[in-house]
């Protein structure tokens, strides 16, 4: 039973590293990624559907490249690139966050696109036949319906992001996986530390998905 005893010992000594620092930074990084990613993703979607064709191609190219390359590679890329191109000093946390945001934004832009495309074409036709212009149709008819497709997918993206932030530990930015690296370095109890961090990740994503599920049910109840 020394495995569980070890876990108990580790938690008594290092609970702050896991639960305060680790969970705190993981949630902070996830929240930044999801909120900025949603805004940037919306902008990418607008760029993709803009009338100016070269902008469409640029956005499509960026999205395809981001979706077609490993995230860890992208994090390395932005980790080195961001401090070089910004005129002011950036923390490692900031540089990694930029990478995560850009990655998430590309997926989110696809969520917006599929959510909007899933609204029946007849809705647009009906609105246009009444004399609404494209903008009015989008704002009054399409988006309010698309949001019901988009929100659940955004929730899933949030859960994915929570797990994806673990890659940021490569740069030792303080989130949960970094806590694992630190405590393992001190205790040499690899399996125990992995188990602790794994349980915390699972509890986080499980709670999050329950929360989002309740939120979705409330949305549906409004129909």
């Amino acid at each position: 039973m020394s495995f569980f005893e070890n876990i108990a010992k580790i938690m008594t000594k290092y609970w702050q590293v896991f639960l305060l620092q680790g969970v705190g930074y993981t949630l902070l990084l996830s929240a930044i990624t999801v909120s900025c990613g949603a805004v940037l993703g919306m902008l990418l979607y607008l760029g993709r559907s803009a009338r100016f064709k070269p902008l469409n191609w640029l956005v499509v190219a960026v999205v395809e490249v981001i979706r077609g390359t490993p995230m860890l590679l992208q994090l390395y890329f932005f980790y080195f690139l961001v401090p070089k191109i910004l005129p002011f000093p950036v923390t490692e946390f900031g540089a990694v966050a930029v990478g995560l945001v850009i990655n998430s934004a590309c997926y989110v832009s696809e969520i917006f696109r599929s959510g909007i495309q899933a609204v029946d074409r007849g809705q647009t036709e009906a609105a246009r036949s009444l004399g609404l212009n494209g903008r009015q149709t989008m704002l009054r008819i399409i988006l309010p319906q698309a949001i019901k497709n988009i929100l659940p997918a955004l929730g899933n993206e949030f859960i994915m992001v929570v797990k994806d932030t673990s890659l940021a530990s490569t740069f030792f930015v303080g989130e949960l996986m970094t806590s694992y690296l630190k405590v393992k370095g001190n205790t040499y109890l690899t399996m125990e530390c992995l188990t602790i961090v794994g349980v915390i990740y699972f509890v986080l994503t499980f709670l999050l998905s329950k929360l989002l599920g309740a939120f979705e049910r409330r949305l549906k109840a409004h129909d």
């Binding site: 007849g122 036709e125 009906a126 246009r128 036949s129 009444l130 004399g131 609404l132 212009n133 129909d223």
Partner: protein, 250 residues
């Protein structure tokens, strides 16, 4: 009945159809619809009926040809089609009511948003329209709770709320359960009775005979025959019309 409300000149339209190449759907349609006239369009599927109707308010943009509506060439450049569409009500096969809005909002959205009516005026008008089609008690419901026939009646009054000069009906009863066809046709009939200019794409031959001033038979992308209901339905001249009518039970 002499003033032309809509005139089309040599309309051509083709679509890319997956795996079948380019499909030429309209092959030169020239027609005019007079003010107050009720015109039904019949013919086999794929003959271009719906495409013709959808061209009239430019939901489909023809590649060639002109459409003149109330003296304005709406296919011309620099035409604000949104303004002209306000004068052309359209009713769709699949209703296309707005599911996220209440029945009332479905009707008042466009007149208020487009500055045609104040919210109070629009409200009053919507209630009067709902009352007329027997849906007043559904005013605050969402369309999800309506039957197909009720949805279509809502779609009709939604279009009427813009006080259009012409109504375009695209197979308004084709997606309905049989027992609901009657209630929708009644509404259309009463509209037509008030002198509303209407173009009706339909498979309901009996209805077309009853309400139309004129019937167009479309096949192969052209208007193959046009005439008064009794003439066209009882004594079709064109062999294609004869063939089509012989296969249709009504």
């Amino acid at each position: 009945m002499t003033e032309n409300l809509i005139e089309t000149v040599d309309l051509h339209k083709s679509f890319d159809v997956l795996g079948r190449g380019r499909l030429h759907v309209l092959k030169g349609v020239t027609e005019h619809i007079a003010k107050g006239e009720v015109v039904s369009v019949i013919g086999p599927s794929g003959g271009g009926k719906s495409t013709f109707l959808r061209c009239l308010n430019l939901l489909e943009v023809p590649e060639q040809g002109k459409i003149i509506f109330e003296g304005v060439e709406i296919t011309g450049e620099k035409v604000d089609i949104n303004l002209h569409r306000q004068k052309m009500g359209m009713v769709f096969q699949h209703f296309n009511v707005f599911p996220h809005l209440s029945v009332m909002k479905n009707i008042t959205l466009a007149p208020v948003l487009l500055g045609k009516k104040s919210p109070t005026e629009a409200d009053e008008q919507a209630r009067a329209l709902l009352n007329r089609v027997g849906l007043l008690e559904k005013a605050e419901e969402h369309p999800g709770r309506l039957s197909g026939g009720q949805k279509q009646r809502l779609a009709i009054v939604r279009a009427l709320a813009m006080e259009p000069d012409v109504m375009l009906f695209d197979e308004p009863t084709s997606a309905l359960d049989p027992e609901m066809v009657g209630e929708v046709l009644e509404v259309i009939k009463s509209l037509v009775g008030e002198g509303m200019t209407s173009v009706i794409v339909t498979h309901e031959m009996g209805f077309a005979r009853e309400v139309s001033d004129r019937i167009l038979f479309m096949d192969g992308g052209v208007i193959a025959e046009s005439g008064k209901p009794e003439e066209l339905l009882n004594h079709p001249q064109n062999p294609r019309t004869q063939d089509f009518l012989s296969k249709v039970l009504y």
